[in-house]
């Protein structure tokens, strides 16, 4: 995974709450067996609406998505994270994220920055009044800066550390392989197995 320290890019205001993963990428786009090429499915239904924010050329270079509360609810599809990243997003800002989506993002290097809804509202106003405004998201200091606005955001310490270091979970877990072996040796014999 690529490390993440700070990112500056055009902010995109998405004034919607409960953006579920079926909206981020509808099921019909989930059939690929790769991790790339999902940008065509990103917000596919909404992008057919001319007035949808991603159809506004001022935001075409957008890489910081600012959304309403409960972003990423529903399905566990990691394709939602791939679609956002394939499209060019590196950060999503919201006042509340669904658990699975936030976990998936952390594994892929997409930063989910949790700001207060008040700060999200200020960011929306700023980005709508001055389309194309850049937003800087600094993971070291956990701050979002845009124009005169400086807001702090929350991200858990462990995810932050992994993102800053660009560490992958599997290697981290395999450092405890002896513990895994020991645990397996202690499991009751009656625990089910798929094959004998």
């Amino acid at each position: 995974m690529e490390s993440f320290t700070t990112h500056t890019g055009v902010g995109v205001p998405l004034r919607r709450s409960n953006v579920d993963t079926d909206q981020i990428i509808p099921a019909v786009y989930l059939k690929r067996v790769t991790r790339s090429g999902f940008e065509d499915g990103l917000f596919a239904a909404w992008r057919t609406d001319e007035t949808f924010v991603l159809n506004d050329p001022s935001y075409s270079a957008g890489s910081v998505l600012v959304a309403g509360p409960d972003f990423g609810t529903g399905s566990s599809r990691e394709h939602a994270v791939w679609a956002l990243m394939n499209y060019g997003f590196r950060v999503v800002i919201s006042s509340r994220f669904a658990d699975i989506f936030r976990g998936n993002s952390g594994k892929q290097g997409l930063l989910t920055a949790q700001c207060t809804q008040d700060d999200v509202e200020l960011l929306w106003k700023l980005l709508e009044n001055e389309p194309g405004t850049s937003v800087t998201v600094d993971l070291e200091s956990r701050t979002v800066t845009a124009g005169d606005l400086v807001a702090s955001f929350e991200v858990d310490d462990y995810t932050r550390w992994r993102l800053l270091e660009g560490l992958d979970d599997i290697s981290l877990s395999l450092r405890h392989e002896a513990d895994i072996d020991a645990f397996e040796g202690s499991r009751p014999a009656w625990k089910p197995r798929v094959t004998a």
Binding site: S17, P26, R35, G68, I180, P192
Partner: protein, 470 residues
Amino acid sequence: MAGTLAEKVWESHVVHRGEGEPDLLYIDLHLLHEVTSPQAFDGLREAGRPVRRPELTLATEDHNVPTTPGPITDPVSRTQVETLRRNCEEFGVTIYPMGDAEQGIVHVVGPQIGLTQPGMTIVCGDSHTSTHGAFGALAFGIGTSEVEHVLATQTLPLKPFRTMSVTVDGELADGVTAKDVVLAVIAKIGTGGGQGYVIEYRGSAIRALSMEARMTVCNMSIEAGARAGMIAPDETTFAYVQGRPHAPTGADWDAAVAAWSELRSDDDAEFDTEVVLDAAELTPFVTWGTNPGQGSPLGEAVPDPELMGDDNDKVAARRALEYMGLEAGTPLREIHVDTVFVGSCTNGRIEDLRAAAAVIEGRRVAEGVRMLVVPGSARVRLQAEQEGLDAVFTAAGAEWRLPGCSMCLGMNPDQLAPGERSASTSNRNFEGRQGKGGRTHLVSPLVAAATAVRGTLSSPADLEPKEALV
């Protein structure tokens, strides 16, 4: 220290615990399907890693499979299914492919063959893995990176969940089902209310539910934002597990039951949040909006967004009504549907099909309404046919299909056309979930069957008594 059920299962699976790190938890069962696994297997190949415990891993084909006879015609869907088969062969994982006697929706298959047992940790790249919590297992959906992690290590690094109890005491009225209970829970706490929590469902109304009904409740925990839902195992659970192909036998059975009997929240255990519902107050519940929290009792009308206190709720409800083509104040019973879908990991088990069949037997699906009945697995289909349920459905004018996820998410050809409206026993009413532009009302199997007969959202109580039908 007193503990909750979730904490006990968690503690018994900690492989490694370190300061400032998530706990590393052992995973007892890893279920796979074709949609969320191909990239995980690619990751293993790139890193030169094997599947650590193929014998604790099981794959089935469900999301893409057609429910009419014949091969998959969509080449992209077919590639995804063929990729799963190749990966399973290469990595030594058991798979139940289309046409196999054990094939079906992953969350129907695990319990029915006895692989799902109390006290286990169960994961799958599918958010409805919460279903298995009905057995007192800690079961939750994961993303593809985590699928790869479990394949490689049989563990997951996780931060502890908070605990929430949802207590439903009292007796459910006739015609009120597990689906109505969970839709009412979601409407009460909201789609984000369970975020960060494991929900434990408790109370006399929950204890009185069958295992299949408990699975319906736990299945939709994720729609309240909760990663998992659990119900403490009891005699109902043990009786369901006993005798199934993977259930322990003999002395092992006794040892297992002794261990499972310890799996309940201590009397003085503290939950981070507690929610209480009175079973006697519940009635058939349906959704009117585009998230599962936007629901109301069937006897009510489409709510008025302008009367909602919270600004976000107001904006979301306005948008939902526009998408759904509904006007505030319209009685829910007057909403016409084009399609009725009975199936999915929420309501595609044999009891669900029996319930729907009992309502529709001797009646007809209304003119202009299409009704699809999709069993959750090949075994459920076979059982239903042995009981003659297929004949009941087809005599009423419904379509009897092959098992799969089907119209729950429309990855196969079973989809709504733009603007079409369904009453669906599935779990999500998101915009476009059942097909682009499709409009979904989530309902119980009883409401689905009654709606098919009347053509408008209905409960069995709204139907003419069968004696009146000649």
